[in-house]
Amino acid sequence: MLKNQKTLKVSAIKSGTVIDHIPAKNLFKVIAILGLNNIDNPITFGANLESGKLGFKAIIKISDKFFVDEEINRIAMAAPEAKLNIIRDYKVVEKKIVEVPENIEGIVKCVNPKCVTNNEEVKQKFTVVAKKDVSLKCRYCEKITDQEHMVYI
């Protein structure tokens, strides 16, 4: 009990954002998509935590950082079921869920090396064809990029 309390103390943040229910294998993808490797805010994260829903999950806590919806939805491809808790003064003041958009621009590279987006200066545009295990259909070459082959820009 005492140990749990201690853990909580270490990881709780006063103000900022907690991103929960990230699939464990995609933790570093989410960090990269949100650009967390380039900011100075204190960040703690846990990886390979047991989760009934996902098997193993990851969690990220970022102090004094709040995201706009557009930024949040960028992680939809890597963590479609992520939940965000907005913390102010140690209390959850707002909860947000990630919404997988119908269309996405940029963020991910098209898997097809012969696609125009990989050969000319053309911004990637996709239609989301599956929302759970997210897969994307390229507007240009019409090829499908699935979760396994997603390379984030």
Partner: protein, 303 residues
């Protein structure tokens, strides 16, 4: 369809496809019509092609239009490193429509976004070649009198064959039976079979078609390319199973026609050419009427 680019066969609804076929029929009866008087069509072939380019140019000429363009990118500014966008924006100033073939997939869609005149895709790598699909539909309807209740045999390389994929998508709007005949290594990809399943359309897969050939209304042959095989021995063993010979056509239906997008290499033996069921050269001619129809509809010269 007015001023609308044609990039993928999926850009046209069933009704729009039928409209093209009806108009192509009109052009077959009266191919010389001076509709394009004073108009300029640019044919930009960033990679070489014989049939497609010549048939587009023939279509424009028969409509009384002028052609500008290049036949491979070595004779254009692409050689100097010009971007596709710059080439398209420039040529759009000089023409009323751009017909383009490019080895990069999705290049035609991108061109249609930056061009102020409509773009017709004449093949973008392994992706789409919609005017080929429309001429295939025209050939099927013309020879069978309908696009419904047909047994369509697709033979050869069904994995990489762009033409068979587009034809499958277009024909799946009608009530047809598909027969896929290919070596195991070159089977029809699952996404297309799933598409048919979702629509409740019957398909059958076989590696050999000698026993079912009497059922065919249309045989669509494609080339089995050696470089598609990971194992060259496998290629040597299977290549002859996908060659059509005249003696195989003995017990086939009266109405059977053999189609091929061409160029043909060895997959249709030349002894088939004199059989009245061989249709591939007429199919290539149908490409002119179909393209006349597409050009006239996009430029609003026919309704």
């Amino acid at each position: 369809m007015l001023n609308k680019s044609l990039i993928s066969i999926n850009d046209y609804s069933k009704e729009e496809c039928i409209k093209v076929l009806d108009l192509a029929e009109e052009f077959e009866k009266e191919p010389i019509q001076n509709l394009l008087n004073g108009r300029v069509v640019a044919t930009l072939f960033f990679e070489p092609s014989t049939r497609t380019r010549l048939s587009f140019e023939s279509a424009v000429s028969r409509l009384g239009g002028q052609i500008i363009g290049f036949t491979d990118s070595s004779s254009s500014s692409v050689q100097k490193g010009e971007s596709l966008k710059d080439t398209i924006c420039t040529v759009a100033n000089y023409s009323d429509m751009i017909v383009m073939r490019h080895p990069i997939e999705g290049s035609a869609r991108y061109a249609s976004e930056v061009s102020k005149v409509p773009v017709v895709n004449a093949g973008d790598g392994a992706n789409q070649h919609p005017t080929q699909t429309l001429l295939d539909l025209y050939s099927i309807r013309k020879t069978q009198g309908t696009l419904d209740n047909l047994n369509i045999f697709m033979v050869g390389d069904l994995k990489y064959g762009r033409t068979v994929h587009s034809l499958l998508m277009a024909m799946s709007q009608f009530n047809v039976n598909f027969f896929f005949i290919s070596p195991d290594e070159l089977k029809m990809p699952n996404e297309y079979k799933l598409h048919l399943k979702n629509l409740g359309i019957d398909y059958h897969e076989q590696t050999d078609f000698s026993d079912i050939i009497p059922e065919a209304d249309i045989i669509y042959m494609t080339r089995v390319q050696k470089e598609r095989f990971s194992d060259p021995i496998e290629y040597e063993k299977t290549k002859n199973a996908y060659v059509l010979r005249n003696n195989m056509l003995e017990k086939t239906r009266e109405n059977l026609k053999i189609l091929h997008p061409l160029p043909r290499v060895t997959e249709i033996n030349s002894d088939v050419d004199s059989n009245e069921k061989a249709y591939y050269f007429t199919q290539a001619l149908n490409g002119v009427y179909t393209r006349q129809a597409i050009i006239s509809l996009i430029l609003g010269l026919k309704k």
